[in-house]
């Protein structure tokens, strides 16, 4: 069986502006991003017959299809677990297109997290499992939950705040090259990082992603159809979701091994169906809601051994020209936190050769979704 390997391609990407506060509502932003992606592909809205999104998306398929005049939809999918679903939207569309359930698929994300409400301000929130076992004790925010794993990683493996700074700096340096990035004109120094306020020790302000308004979208079609599109196709080489046995979301402390997260499960499947290995990856877009997720992901996706994710960041490894240029648009830490969807579009830009921090000759890119929750990942190639 041929499977998904290179059977489909991303042929269009689109985005709105990113800002702390945008005047338009989420539905309007979603419509603008999808139209921009279709225009990039040279495909008419009425040809769209598949949609994929992920949870915490307020604009649903019905709204989008009606607003934009899409055609009859024969496939639609909404992936669970928030930021873990970003790459899975493309994976679901690729599967639908490759198996003939649809011909033109669009995935999108629209969010107003910069000017909208924050979950931790909701005092009426119910506390179902697992929150009832964690939040009454003041472990309230995702930053607190990930900081717990970061502290343990530091204890077991000697990971340091300098390692986390390396992650934040690589993202900021790339954002400083990207005029669309929220942090375009805001350089970061080690002193700024080390003296910034704590959010949840051991994580400080710069270990946390931005809160951003904005929307993005991409278009998936078959390899054959991709040849007729306006923009250069970027092939979906391998795709995977990952929900490990006995996993329990962000607070997975009661698993046998809380430091081996969903990335490990997704990675096994991803590499099994790929023609190349981690050593062959030219550039990576790794989900960075928090810096501490990057060392965990570097280990999970096989760029280094268990426990070496911190050390991997040394010597400029994540910078342009380093072993693994990271989050070349600035990522969630410094371009925009749009639930990881900007990592997908940046991966496409790299393989088209149009990134603002272009890795010369980039031919392969790993894109990942949120680690620490049921996740997903893509290997893209040109």
């Amino acid at each position: 069986m041929a499977g998904l390997k290179d059977a489909t391609a991303i042929v269009g990407i689109g985005q709105t502006a990113f800002a702390r506060r945008l005047p338009e509502d989420e539905r309007t932003l979603a419509c603008r991003a999808v139209l921009a992606a279709l225009d990039d592909a040279g495909i008419a809205p009425r040809e769209v017959d598949a949609l994929a999104s992920y949870t915490m998306e307020e604009t649903d398929e019905v709204e989008l299809a009606k607003s934009l005049g899409l055609g009859d939809l024969t496939f639609f999918s909404k992936v669970g677990y928030g930021g873990g679903g970003s790459c899975a939207t493309v994976a679901h569309l690729a599967a639908a297109v490759a198996t003939g359930q649809a011909t033109v698929g669009v995935a999108w994300r629209s969010r107003k997290r910069g000017s909208g409400p924050r979950p931790w301000t909701n005092t009426t929130v119910q506390l179902p499992t697992p929150a009832q076992w964690t939040r009454p004790f003041g472990l309230l925010r995702p930053a607190d939950e990930i900081a717990m794993l970061a502290r343990r990683h530091m204890h077991e493996y000697g990971t340091t705040r300098d390692h986390l700074f390396n992650v934040a700096l690589a993202c900021r340096n790339r954002a400083n090259q990207n005029p669309a990035a929220v942090m375009y004109d805001r350089p970061l120094t080690r002193e700024m990082y080390m003296t910034s306020r704590w959010i949840s020790e051991p994580l400080c302000l710069f270990d946390n992603c931005l809160e951003t308004d904005g929307a993005l979208a991409c278009v998936v079609v078959s390899r054959e159809r991709a040849r007729d599109c306006r923009s250069r196709p970027v092939y979906v080489h391998s795709a995977a979701q990952g929900l490990p046995a006995q996993h329990h979301g962000m607070v997975n402390y009661w698993n046998d091994d809380p430091l081996t997260g969903p990335a490990w499960t997704a990675a096994r499947h991803l590499w099994k169906h790929a023609d190349f290995t981690p050593q062959d990856v030219d550039v990576a877009q790794i989900y960075d809601a928090f810096t501490a997720l990057v060392p965990l992901s570097l280990e999970g996706y096989g760029f280094c051994d268990r426990g070496e994710g911190g050390a991997f960041t040394e010597g400029g490894a994540l910078e342009t020209g380093g072993r693994l240029p990271l989050n070349t648009g600035g990522g969630g830490l410094s371009e925009a936190y749009v639930h990881g969807f900007n990592l997908i579009t940046e991966g496409v830009k790299q393989l088209r050769g149009t990134s603002t921090a272009q890795v010369p000759g980039a031919a392969t890119c790993l894109v990942t979704a949120g680690e620490g929750v049921p996740t997903s990942a893509l290997l893209l190639r040109n």
């Binding site: 005092t123 472990l139 020790e201």
Partner: protein, 138 residues
């Protein structure tokens, strides 16, 4: 402060805690502990459950010190600690809690500098039956 939404599976934990007992759900067939409480054993798929008393001793597996912005009740005590405790009797059952100076004390009653991974702790209960942890005198 946030209260747990007590569901059917978890209710016995809180009932025992209100009496000052730390009990963890275990499979009545294969004996395996499981946490959080669930209807079925993931090892042998038995639905037979018992609530086994554990010694209430453990070690700090990790900890964080949250700072604002936080919900108002928590912000008022911030920075405070949240610890994960690995139970001596059931190492994979790691409970989230707070290290306090004495039962019922504030979340910030132990200075962050006095916390270290591996430290031995013992369970106590506050006035509302919420488990808390104090450093074990060794």
């Amino acid at each position: 402060m946030l209260s747990p939404a007590i569901d059917a599976d978890g209710a016995p934990f809180w009932r025992y805690a209100a009496r000052g007992e730390l009990r963890i759900q275990a499979c009545a067939d294969c004996g395996g502990f499981r946490f959080p409480p669930r209807p079925c054993c993931p090892r042998c798929r038995s639905f037979a459950t018992e609530w086994r008393a554990v010694g209430g001793h453990g070690r700090i597996w990790s900890y964080v010190v949250p700072h604002p912005p936080l919900l108002p009740d928590y912000a008022e005590q911030a920075p405070y600690n949240v610890i994960v405790v690995e139970l001596a009797d059931a190492p994979a059952v790691r409970l989230v809690g707070n290290l306090v100076r004495e039962p019922g004390a504030r979340l910030d009653s132990v200075a962050p500098g006095g916390i270290r991974i591996g430290a031995r702790v013992r369970v106590v209960f506050d006035g509302d039956g919420l488990p808390q942890w104090v450093l074990e005198r060794v």
